[in-house]
């Protein structure tokens, strides 16, 4: 090969990926570093000269803040409920709707999945209206059924659960689809063999189906965890963190610190907390990916 060709060969791939790396550098790598730096400074937006290094002060203050504690508790509850309920519901729906491909099953899948691709703005507006305590649809139905009504989003006792209801409703379809695909990838003959071995339905499910789709289950748990820890839009749209911080989440806390209190330092510190959680989940996920070979 000629020398010039060799140089071309050597430089060319870098040229091809350069634009993508500019994007990642500017909007992923730099912000990650910057958010860590910001978390150790007290930033003054109006007078940058007053910005100063404060060590772990932002973290210490943040951990002592009621709103932050409330946000962490809420986010943890939210995450836990999402994992348990969404996982159970989507598995159930997948087994129920995915075993046979019939028209009605397909229509069900279509319906269940629909909320996933509709904007959270639309969904939140609809549910806020339906959950309206005085003339909303939900209370109308409860009254018609002679059941006690609820204050839904407007009481600190029920607000978080009401938000969760919407989140579950919106996301369960996506995971159902993933599980249906997973179930369909389990070879038929394993089930036939189990049937010949006279295994019951539940036994087959526990002993064969669940282990076979365990990689997808793990994937869903990770995605749900990350997704729940970064929840903000639903809360901002439905309750704005209220009533009385009952629905404040970690990211909503960041948003508040930065945009309402212009306390960038604490916002960044909370951002680092989120980053650590996402980082742990990511590492868990990728390390399981490299181990996950034995079933296939």
């Amino acid at each position: 090969m000629r020398k010039i060709d060799k140089i071309k060969q050597y430089v060319f791939p870098y040229l091809l990926i350069l634009p993508s790396m500019v994007g990642i550098g500017l909007f992923v790598v730099y912000p990650i570093i910057k958010v860590i730096i910001l978390s150790f400074y007290s930033t003054n937006m109006i007078n940058p000269a007053k910005t100063k290094y404060v060590g772990f002060e932002n973290y210490i203050k943040m951990f002592n803040k009621v709103m932050f504690k409330k946000a962490m508790v809420n986010t943890s509850i939210y995450t836990l409920v999402m994992i348990v309920v969404v996982l159970a519901l989507s598995l159930l729906l997948a087994v129920w709707l995915g075993q046979k491909s019939s028209r009605i099953n397909y229509i069900c899948q279509m319906a269940v999945f629909l909320p996933h691709i509709i904007s959270i703005v639309s969904v939140a507006l609809i549910f806020v209206q339906m959950m309206e305590p005085n003339f909303g649809l939900f209370n109308s139905i409860l009254v018609a059924l002679n059941l006690p009504t609820s204050r839904w989003l407007q009481s600190s006792d029920t607000a978080l659960m009401s938000v969760l209801l919407v989140s579950i409703w919106k996301s369960v379809g996506y995971y159902t689809l993933i599980f249906i695909a997973a179930l369909q990838s389990v070879p038929r003959d394993i089930y036939e063999a189990a049937e010949l071995d006279n295994a019951g339905k539940f036994k087959t499910f526990y002993k064969i189906t669940l282990p076979m789709i365990s990689p997808q289950i793990f994937f869903v748990v990770i995605v749900l965890t990350i997704g729940s820890f970064k929840v903000i839009e639903t809360i901002r749209l439905m309750t704005n963190g209220g009533p009385n911080n009952a629905t404040t989440s970690l990211v909503f806390y960041i948003y508040r610190e930065v945009f309402n209190n212009t306390d960038i330092g604490k916002g960044a510190a909370a951002g680092v907390v989120l980053m650590v959680i996402v980082g742990i989940m990511t590492v868990l996920y990728f390390s399981s990916l490299s181990k996950r070979v034995h079933y296939r």
Partner: protein
């Protein structure tokens, strides 16, 4: 005996399935219903299910409640710009990662994976400050530029490119095709399903995006539809739900139409987004 219980089981199964469809689809019918109710009907208890005379005028009211033409235009411009820029950046990158061996390949590719996992919720503070420094907060750029690199797209496309048999590329070389021609005549057509999936995901996520534009816009003239619709809630108070829901339909309808026509493709694309 067996036949009867089987029949009951089947009927129960069907009824349950209809119930499931209702639970997930009803709210979208409900928007339409509310969007057509009179001001009085919206505020009665118990709620009105079907409006007496549909008030199509609500849609006009909603459209006039804010600069919706601007919002709509912004949403379209942003989507088109994001997808175009992503394609231009993603295809060469995926090609390089799939086809070439170079020293920093593994490191750079792990950067792509990191970009794939890091949520905007972590990065928005610095990006917001940066956009402010660059004086871009009154333009559409803060809603476009941060999404220029589609890490998921690079990842998926690279897999498709790697699956193109080596022989095919060699055959094309023997056919005297230039490197560029190999890419757009052979590789890209072969990766069409991947590109369609990537465009779909990009479209759904950016059309629906709310958090990012909420933060990155200081003026109404750069806001997209989602932010505009959400703002209706405060401008229309908690009274004119019919107007709000009519506005809501502007946001839902495009996605709903796409979904009705391409549900098979969409469902398949999302089904296999789980794990490979």
């Amino acid at each position: 005996m067996y036949g009867v219980s089987q029949n009951i089981k089947n009927t129960a199964n069907i009824i349950l399935k209809i119930l499931v469809v209702a639970i997930f689809a009803f709210p979208f019918l409900w928007v339409i219903s509310v969007s057509l109710q009179t001001d009085a009907e919206v505020n009665t208890f118990p709620a009105t299910i079907i409006p007496k005379t549909p008030q199509f005028n609500n849609y006009v009211r909603a459209w006039q409640a804010g600069p919706f033409l601007t919002y709509f235009k912004n949403s379209v411009v942003i989507i088109v710009a994001i997808i175009t820029i992503q394609m231009l950046i993603m295809i060469p990158a995926a090609y390089a990662f799939a086809m070439y061996d170079f020293k920093l390949k593994n490191i750079l590719f792990s950067l792509v994976l990191i970009a794939f996992m890091v949520p905007t919720q972590v990065t928005f503070v610095p990006v917001y400050l940066m956009m402010g420094e660059w004086g871009l907060l009154r333009t559409l750029w803060p809603q476009i530029l941060p999404f220029m690199t589609n890490a998921f797209g690079i990842f998926l496309l690279r897999q498709y490119f790697m699956q193109v048999p080596e022989e095919l590329i060699e055959a094309a070389r023997l056919d005297n095709a230039s490197e560029l021609k190999i890419v757009y005549k052979l590789m890209i057509p072969m990766a069409k399903p991947a590109l369609a999936t990537i465009i779909l995901f990009s479209f759904v996520s950016h059309w629906n995006e709310y958090f990012w534009p909420l933060i990155m816009t200081n003026t109404t003239d750069v806001r997209p539809l989602t932010v505009g619709i959400a703002a209706l809630k405060s401008t229309e108070g908690f009274v004119n739900w019919n107007t709000i829901m009519a506005g809501n339909m502007f946001l839902i309808a495009p996605i709903l139409i796409v979904y009705v026509f391409c549900s098979r493709f969409i469902i398949k694309a999302f089904s296999y987004s789980g794990i490979k």
